[in-house]
Symmetry: D2
Subunit: 493 residues, 4 copies
């Protein structure tokens, strides 16, 4: 889980990128980085641990000079968080000087790493798939071009060859020193990327452009939405504001029709005020609530339920719609604390698990003696749901029905959503009644897979989605048991 943004402006872009990263902070809070390029090709990079607010100091921002730039926020997997070598953006100086960030996950990193040393003779100094990616792109740019001046043609050919070499899900933003900003999206459009335009303030100024993971970043910055970058498509924006776009992955079957975005963006990850692939995230969540209501009604004696409550924040729209459809009162019984901290390891003290209560607290008035229906966006490990249900009971709930706006998660996610290993998923190898028992719920209802799909695609041009962790179907076609076992083994180490 990452958030990315890139900009080509008329003036300095550092503060704009910083502000954009704050708006993407929900997509990753473990590390962040910004790179900018000046017209004379000088590049500046600043990276830091933690949230945007913590990571950049005034002197970092002052050094980030330039009218073209990009930024990244990162959700780190276990153990990665403090390794500076893994932090994006990544820079290579040949050819041209390229800095690159991506959101997603490459699935053929083993092959790429081997190829990189053998064929490309490029040094990779981390285990990051982003470093592989920038080197694949750099290697291909070296092959497709031979002049100092880089033509859009050559860039697009290099992107095409990059698509041919890499597998997985990726939305990429890159700055090529002295030239401009390049962005492209994987052939299945699994990870999001959207383009916006802001007219120059004066007649001397060119159009300003931004690409980002989510549309609200563009809107907030005063950009009009141009459209989503299509699956397999590349966008190149020259320093002078000239825009070039090209489908570069036709050979990999990419087309707008073949777009299968990650369902998790709608379920949980994206902000509700974003529109992705033509689908309003907020509205899709309302529809998830609508369909979930029907499933709940089919399985649970709804007339006994006194009140519907969301687990804040992301399940709020679905819960509100469930309440409306079922004609049950909607209340907010949980208060969410947005301030997170750390657990320090003291010599001679046992490490303590910080309880869910540090993040969520129940208002007794809303629970006392009531039969409550709690709506969450999804259930992963189940430990949080378990604690929430217990909290509701301690607050006096007469009974707790729990409903998930997403179907059971039974398979690994390999396209850039951080998930625990299969064995840790509560739904892995369990029936719904078995899960209910683990969670301690009186009733447990899950969204149907087809309902989730329909709730998202309804009214859009989308026909399918990546729903791999629900249905075990991997759209890139290269994921087999051997791969999943390797993923599992890598996580364990």
């Amino acid at each position: 889980m990452c958030g990315i943004v890139g900009m080509v402006g008329n003036g300095p872009v550092n503060q704009d990128i910083y502000d954009a990263l704050l708006l993407l902070q929900h997509r990753g809070q473990d590390a962040t980085g910004i790179a900018t390029a000046e017209a004379d090709a000088m590049m500046h990079i600043a990276k830091g641990q933690g949230m945007v607010r913590e990571a950049f100091r005034t002197r970092d921002m002052r050094a980030l000079r330039g009218e073209t730039g990009l930024g990244h926020v990162r959700y780190a997997t276990k153990g990665e968080a403090s390794r500076e070598e893994e932090a994006q953006p990544f820079y290579v100086n040949a050819p041209y000087g390229i800095v690159l960030i991506h959101n997603g996950n490459l699935t053929n990193t083993r092959e790429l790493a081997e190829e990189m040393a053998r064929r490309d003779r490029r040094h990779v100094n981390s285990t990051s798939d982003t470093e592989l990616l920038v080197n694949v792109l750099a290697g291909e740019l070296q092959e497709t071009t031979s002049s100092e001046l880089l033509e859009p043609e050559a860039i697009f050919e290099a992107v095409g060859r990059t698509h041919a070499r890499i597998r997985g899900a990726y939305a990429v933003i890159s700055v090529i020193a002295g030239h401009g900003l390049l962005a492209f999206r994987d052939p299945h459009g699994i990870r999001p990327l959207i383009l916006g335009r802001r007219p120059g303030a004066t007649s001397e100024e060119h159009d300003e452009w931004a690409v980002a993971s989510e549309s609200l970043v563009l809107e907030n910055g005063g950009y009009e939405i141009v459209r989503d970058v299509e699956p397999g498509e590349a966008v190149f924006i020259r320093h002078d504001g000239a825009l070039f776009m090209r489908q570069c992955a036709a050979a990999e079957g990419a087309s707008p029709a073949a777009c299968t975005p990650c369902a998790f963006e709608y379920v949980y990850l994206a902000r509700p005020d974003s529109v992705m692939n033509g689908v309003s995230v907020y509205e899709s969540r309302l529809r998830m609530g609508e369909r979930l209501a029907a499933t709940i009604a089919a399985h649970v004696p709804v007339e006994e339920i006194d009140v519907v409550m969301p687990i804040p924040d992301s399940s709020r729209p679905a819960a509100m719609e469930v309440a409306r459809r079922l004609g049950i009162e909607y209340r907010e019984g949980f208060y969410k604390n947005h301030y997170v901290g750390r657990t320090f390891i003291m010599p001679g003290q046992a490490v303590r698990r910080r309880s869910v209560r540090q993040k969520l607290n129940a208002m007794s008035l809303e629970f006392r003696g009531k039969h409550v229906l709690l709506i969450d966006d999804s259930i992963v490990r189940g430990t949080t749901s378990q604690q929430i249900i217990e909290m509701a009971r301690r607050a006096g709930a007469a009974s707790v029905t729990f409903a998930s706006a997403a179907p059971p998660i039974r398979h690994p996610h390999v396209y850039g959503i951080n998930m625990p290993s299969r064995e840790e998923l509560v739904a892995h190898g369990r029936t719904i009644p078995e899960i209910a028992e683990v969670l301690g719920a009186d009733h447990l209802v899950y969204q149907e897979i087809e309902d989730l799909r329909a709730a998202i695609v309804e009214g859009s041009e989308l026909t399918d989605l990546d729903m791999c962790c629900f249905d075990g179907r991997y759209v890139t076609g290269d994921i087999d048991e051997e791969h999943l076992a390797w993923v599992q083994a890598s996580q364990a180490s």
Copy 2:
């Protein structure tokens, strides 16, 4: 605006205080500090700028050894933020070694500062009223005691003499090295303070105690609520867990009956899951909504309103109740971004104002073509409300009715809630229709003063409140025009 917590435990309290500060973070995000004391009287202090998460490093935490301690989060007024000398806790080494924090505001600081140099011959190295307070207390302790061992009697007498010397609103927590933790509250109970108890884990362990600004901190830490500290009352908890309580401000008229807590805690400041002075903050907000609904119905054609929406997060309960009472649908049309950042000042660039949109965004679907009723907790400067109303209109609202769960703010607040100067308050010197025009609202409704009072005190033993910024009545009796003019002048500098 500050949050405070103190603990006497059987083991190290550093992580517990840290966790408590995270739960109080909403009360202040500009600076924070922790102090701990070991059984042998060694004290350790760590302070830092910014949020709790940013301010403390592992090595700070490791140095904070000891079984007794206290913590503070601070909301700084303009210009103060970066002055380390102002950061709490404050320490004086004579007599005994005292570390102290407080939430509130002293109103006779001019007299105290003068007295301090002349009579007490104590050095005050900041403009902080907390430094004055710790020195008044230290000076009185020096007078009331003469032995190495400090008896509760002597401590309570010193607190009594401190009450006699200081004016204003204050909830104080202090650690006296080698002795224990002392907490006390101003004679009017303006600022909150509550006591909790946690039984020792084994028969060898004594009871553990905590005092804090808000009850949820105690609950979250597994403490049972004992009760609010009463106006003028002092609590002394020896290092060995023995508890002593005493009313120390009878001379100043303090009594449970004379408790006039700050109404702003209920309106805006406190977490909804806290109970203060016997009043559930959450329930008081529901009642504010109930009463506000009646006022709205009396002034606005409610049948034309399509939807009620809160300005998240604190107005949510009131808004939900308004919707229910008026029989209008409740929807969440605004998304609140909880990640805040900074605006960097770049050489040669103008300073930019960060728009409200960085924090709040409107979901068009909920606004398009609708007559909306927006509920906020209060209106201070009016600039935010103005931008929100404009945002609603741009999102397609057919009309915007705006309602404030608090009455018009027309007077300075001198008891520890940070407010701009009188001239900057939008309601200062304006009628409600004039304010509506400034805000750009089609209709504007304010809670009645008596309704706010009733909503808060209803069902409790409270009979009155401090509502100075609404009604201009100052319960401490020492605030006159000269004082307010001096406050204004100090702010301006």
Copy 3:
């Protein structure tokens, strides 16, 4: 081993104190601190680890506003280095606000610590004798004065009472907020302190004053030397430049005639370009060489020696004089590296001892085939001398005669010179031939005790010295075997 400086100026003193500390850096390189006071009594303190160059940043210096101030450099004993609580200056806020530094060592800290808690009810938060000292002084000031304004009389009485309570060696500089700078010296004048005056630049400006451990600091700053502060004497300089001096330890037998300064200042610690107690350090070292030459001639076949060499830097004058007196050629065969670093502890690696060679290297040309006479200022543990002798042999020396400008060190030093415990002193319990064998020297010559005394006092008004580590005589009269055993035990822990 510490260096101290204090100044009362017409303008800001921060940079002047900083520059003075650089000149005192040879007296301590482990920690440093500066405190300044403004005319309105605001005080500012900055402390840091390591050398002056490393410890203070621009923002520290900017915060050190004020026309009166003091500074300290510290040589830490084992384990102390990284404990921030031990860092000077120490501050107490009652009475008046006092900041204090000292050079030396108190010998009755056990009694003082006990008294402090019991009688003075003052909190001491470290094991530093400086913190005890500032509290004794503060306690006495509280007793001797009762008004806001502090008269020199009262200050001097408090200093007198302080002398009566503390034992040991101390040169103290203190700033009393709102009043001025106070400095005083122990009744035996063991540690140095000297006063300088700089006329104001204009007729509006008052005289500026400085006190420091060494005269070169004053000279370098453009101050004319007034004179050494006498044993037991106190100097008080008001913020307005008025100077007051008083003998405050007559009761303890202090008088100019009773001055017994530490011989080690002349042997090793002080800079050669300083004059202390009327004795030029440089000239005393020349005389040490003169007398050492005679002793060498009496014990060693000097006609066989080809060349005399110093162990740089402090033995250079003595060596040059030895060469001249013996008529042997003087050469510099060792090169000293002034850049010191750290040995990092790596996981899984053994700690390595950094050899003397990292600091000292031999020029083969000067050693090859020659009979060399090496002169060092003193021999403590003997390990360095051993390695130097071995280095000389590896460089080709035909024979190595080693001479120490100081007598054998056989007793603990309790007056502020850091020494290992008795057992680690190579001369403890060994005859000179036994020491020679341990060191691997062909011949070993030590200065006679009386010769050292004579070399230092010659031509001055001094009649005696503190030479405790050579002769086991402790001038303060309170050191017995029990005390020495306690010191030893404290060091071991």
Copy 4:
């Protein structure tokens, strides 16, 4: 002015490189960097401002894993000091991953920068000639090799092509990831580089190798000196300890006979205990003294001189020899303070020039009434000499004769010794009597150019030297007036 070191060991090299840098600290104190490579080709880099002691923290050192590595200390020219982009080492990731440092100065940077963008399409993100150098080498390696495995042949060919493209003075150390350590020296051998070998500790261990700017680093580390790297020669040491050497600049006329090392190394820069190009620095300085004595005798009435004194530290050997040859007593009248600090710029205060006295102080005893002959290694701007002469007079000198062990500096130095621009050189455009007048010396004597050359080359295989700043002859043949004007203009900006 820089110092460099590289090592291939059997175990971790981080601490060894750190220790080596401390020994090279005299060659540069403004910035430093270390890079290491692990057997699996992972590389680690740490850089910092200031001295070695300040720049590296424990966590930096722990991250510097690997058995091959290199280190650098830097003397920054004006304005450069704080620019992180300029800090060595520089890294490029294609091909192979190369990290590189150098000591010296390239003279054709303008051409190289242009070529780099146009022909090599490599991005250069600083104005550092080191970044150009690593990119030239990388570009040539890419051309000369095509396989994953890099043969010594290919490396040497790439070095040869690098020699052909770059001009100036350079001693280079580089690590090629997964392969080993490469070092080479410019075709004229202007800057020094020497190779050492340390046998493995066990039969399983291979030989360990080190290359460094100065021999004392090797000796100190326990390496036996193999020999100087020859002009134009390259050394490649594989990770497994295998050594390969090759002359790579025969085309540029490089040969041992054509070696013209920089005379300034002997005059001032190198440590006396180093041997460079077969010449002991210490002995060459003695010979400089010997020859200077003759010149002094020829120009000055030596019988009137009472005493000879060095300006510490580097002129000590020359001064001692002057004294011996002239039969005049040698004394040390100046004390040098080795602790340097900063001058802080305070708001509203004028910047103060720190006087020479902060670094050097005169012992009056040695000057009073005496006719002194002061010996310095060289005279650059003359401002320091001027202040020293004044200091001697104030200390009581009857007359001051000043002699420089190096000839007048009248031309720019373009091979890596930092010098002010021509106009700032006191000898530029002045006769010796005119200079004497500027300095305020009674007599002024300079070493003759031929004497300096003879003093250095005597007894070695060297026949010539680079003495460009004395004689205006530039051995690389590419320096003309246009170039010198460009250098001057660059410095000014």
